[in-house]
């Protein structure tokens, strides 16, 4: 829970506990006997579509549902309030500023992956957009050919061969994996370290309040930039689709570097 005021935090916690309890206490109000279905798994001998290791599915489904309620009751009302009072032009500038700040994470992680050229590009982006781009409000770097390349510690771990581990749905943050959850913690720690070292608001006398404000703003902006809404597709198997897309996307993002992938492809004897 990145940034919610203490009152909302209490509300969330209550909701959270209530959901967990109902999850455990839910009894099947089944008064009639079950009759086996006409079609069952036994008939089909095929690989699973969209299969991802998910031993904690019951927990994950509870979290998925929790996030739906959290969005509905807390997060999205705040986000739409923000969208209502802020002109689109300003919203875009704010997103730009936060995206620019996250270049620090992109930069440290391209370094961790020893991607020289990419690190230089990302650093170039950060310097360009922080100066000419007025602290990230505008993105001249992309037009100079310095494209944004997202990196995080979960990707770094994947790059060095760490398996994603089981699928994990985090409260508020949403779809993740064991590896990526660890990555998220490391990135936050690095971020915190840099922030403490630089201490940009040290002399204001209010640096604590300011940093809470910045973090809250970041959470709101992140949700604002993310169009996904839990259960909105209405598709009964949405959970599996989201799980699958998250997993594949992460696998591709943290993929092997070019040379290794080419040699594996050649070994496997494909065209």
């Amino acid at each position: 829970m990145k940034a919610v005021s203490s009152r909302s935090a209490v509300r969330v916690l209550t909701l959270f506990c209530a959901l967990l309890l109902t999850g455990c206490a839910a009894t099947r109000e089944n008064t009639r006997d079950e009759v086996p279905a006409m079609h069952t798994m036994d008939e089909f001998r095929d690989q699973h579509l969209a299969e991802v290791a998910d031993p904690w599915e019951t927990f994950n489904r509870s979290m998925y549902r929790f996030n739906y309620y959290f969005d509905k009751n807390v997060f999205l009302p705040v986000v739409s309030g923000y969208e209502f009072i802020t002109p689109i032009f300003v919203q875009e500038r704010i997103s730009g500023i936060y995206n620019n700040l996250s270049e620090v994470r992109n930069f440290t992680n391209s370094l961790f992956q020893l991607k020289g050229a990419e690190s230089v590009k990302t650093l170039g982006r950060f310097v360009t957009n922080s100066t000419i781009g007025l602290g990230g409000m505008f993105d001249p770097a992309t037009s100079f050919g310095l494209q944004r390349r997202t990196e995080d510690f979960g990707q770094t771990l994947g790059y060095w061969g760490v398996d994603s581990g089981p699928y994990l749905v985090l409260p508020v943050f949403g779809p993740s994996s064991l590896r990526d959850t660890g990555g998220l913690a490391v990135d936050s720690a690095i971020n915190y370290g840099i922030y403490t070292a630089v201490a940009p608001f040290e002399n204001t006398g209010n640096s604590g309040a300011i940093s809470v404000g910045i973090k809250t703003g970041e959470a709101i902006d992140t949700r604002h930039q993310q169009p996904f809404r839990y259960y909105e597709s209405g598709y009964p198997f949405e959970y599996y689709m989201v799980r699958f897309l998250y997993h594949e996307k992460r696998k591709m993002d943290s993929g092997l570097p070019l040379a290794e992938a080419v040699s594996t492809q050649n070994q496997s004897g494909k065209q």
Partner: protein, 434 residues
């Protein structure tokens, strides 16, 4: 299904204009039927549409008494979208195609284009979506055009009741694409009796002639993959491997325009494979329909009869079973028995024939309010079907040389045709006693 499309890229690719091979003056660039159907229209060939329009969600409670099973706890009513003008204006209802909701990319594009031209617009989900089956279908078994039409009509009335206090409407119009197009024809016919809307005109976009025959075409796409439809999981995983290997070796920055363009120009997927992926998308949609319908009717088709699923129960097995059932399985084992029980003496042939434009061809032929938009190479139509449509609609038909199944819908010429179709009757007249 939006997820697969996301994977394959929808409408974002930047195609070079020189790929226009044909010698006609139609500028839609993708010649292949399957490729066009998956890739849609390159962004720069779409008309310029407003980013944001005045619009709100309508959450329709069509059956207030209805109790929903715990597994569908999130279903709060039927989700429709409503875009509105400040002044008196004509209103267009748009019905989505199989598996698509009110907010699908195609619905939103048409909504914006019509809004820009001065219309109010209400987009409706397809009666084949789980949301519709749970919240808006009388009997929870979609696929019968007559019953789907009466469900849709009830929804349109509910939507109208919800908004009529806020807007002024000069006339009503109706449109739909794919399965939504053939449903629009049946809704228009029902409207001739019910007369709530008196639709001024009705546009059908890429309709099937027979739902059964077109479903068979989708099934055929999956039959040709190695091992047939029963090995769809193996096929899908192979395609996925290809996709991600291509991504890795190409050193792409992200799954973006450049990447999708490279997939297209690099012919990563063969024609058969592209077709197989379309067939699989169809099955994924059908699986949602089968599961939702089975839970709502407690028929014991894929879920054990009398089992009450909770929100945290795993649905993994049902997902696998449902995607392995074909349209024919659904029709023979579930759909036909359901209607046979309700209409004694009903033969399978009669039920199939009722799901076709031929069953109402007298009406379609005589009514001047219809318009048709489709493509020469729409793979859901046989050559015979296409001739039939040409002969049935004559000068009311607009047939483009390519575009596959709906691939060219968002192309600027097509969008202009759509807008003008409604404009020519909606703009000038004032009327309808409201």
């Amino acid at each position: 299904m939006i997820f697969l499309k996301l994977l394959l890229g929808t409408c974002l690719i930047l195609l070079p204009l020189q790929s226009v091979a044909a010698d006609d003056d139609y500028g839609y660039p993708i010649p292949g039927s399957y490729e066009a159907s998956i890739l849609g229209t390159p962004a720069k060939l779409m008309p310029e549409l407003p980013v944001q329009i005045p619009m709100r969600k309508l959450m329709l409670n069509v059956f207030p008494e209805r109790k929903k099973p715990p597994i569908f706890f999130y279903d709060q009513g039927l989700l429709c979208m409503f875009a509105y003008q400040k002044q008196r204006a004509p209103l267009v209802f748009l019905i989505a195609g199989t598996g698509a909701g009110a907010q699908s990319a195609k619905q939103m594009a048409m909504m914006k284009a019509l809004y820009q031209a001065g219309f109010h617009v209400v987009t409706l989900p397809s009666p084949t979506t789980a949301n519709f089956i749970i919240s808006a279908s009388q009997n929870h078994v979609p696929g019968d055009l007559t019953e789907d039409a009466s469900d849709l009509y009830r929804v349109m009335e509910a939507a109208w009741n919800e908004v009529k206090g806020d807007v002024e409407v000069s006339s009503f119009h109706l449109g739909g694409y794919s399965q939504g197009a053939i449903q629009a024809a049946f809704v228009a016919k029902l409207d001739e009796e019910r007369r709530v809307f008196n639709f001024r005109n009705v546009l059908m976009i890429n309709p099937p002639v027979s739902v059964y025959a077109s479903a068979a075409k989708f099934e055929a796409l999956l039959q040709q993959i190695p091992g047939g439809a029963k090995k769809q999981g193996v096929f899908f995983n192979q395609m996925l491997r290809k996709f991600s290997e291509f991504y890795r070796t190409g050193n792409f920055v992200a799954i973006n325009d450049d990447f999708l363009y490279a997939i297209y120009t690099g012919h990563l997927f063969s024609d058969d494979e592209t077709a197989g992926l379309i067939g699989l998308t169809y099955r994924i949609n059908l699986a949602g329909l089968i599961f939702a319908s089975d839970v709502m009717t407690n028929s014991g088709y894929v879920v054990p009869k009398n089992r009450v699923l909770t929100p945290t129960d795993s649905l993994s097995d049902y997902f696998l079973v449902s995607t392995h059932l074909s349209f024919f399985d659904y029709f023979d084992e579930y759909f036909y028995p359901f209607f046979q029980k309700r209409r004694p003496g009903l033969t399978k042939r009669e039920l199939i024939e009722a799901q076709s434009l031929r069953s109402i061809e007298g009406y379609l032929k005589s009514s001047p309010k219809f318009g048709l938009m489709t493509n020469e190479n729409d793979f859901i139509l046989s050559a015979e079907d296409l001739d039939y449509l040409k002969q049935l609609f004559g000068a009311r038909a607009k047939i483009y040389p390519r575009g596959g199944h709906l691939g060219n819908l968002e192309y600027r010429d097509n969008m202009a045709y759509l807008v003008n179709f409604f404009k020519k009757t909606g703009g000038s007249h004032e009327g309808s006693q409201l």
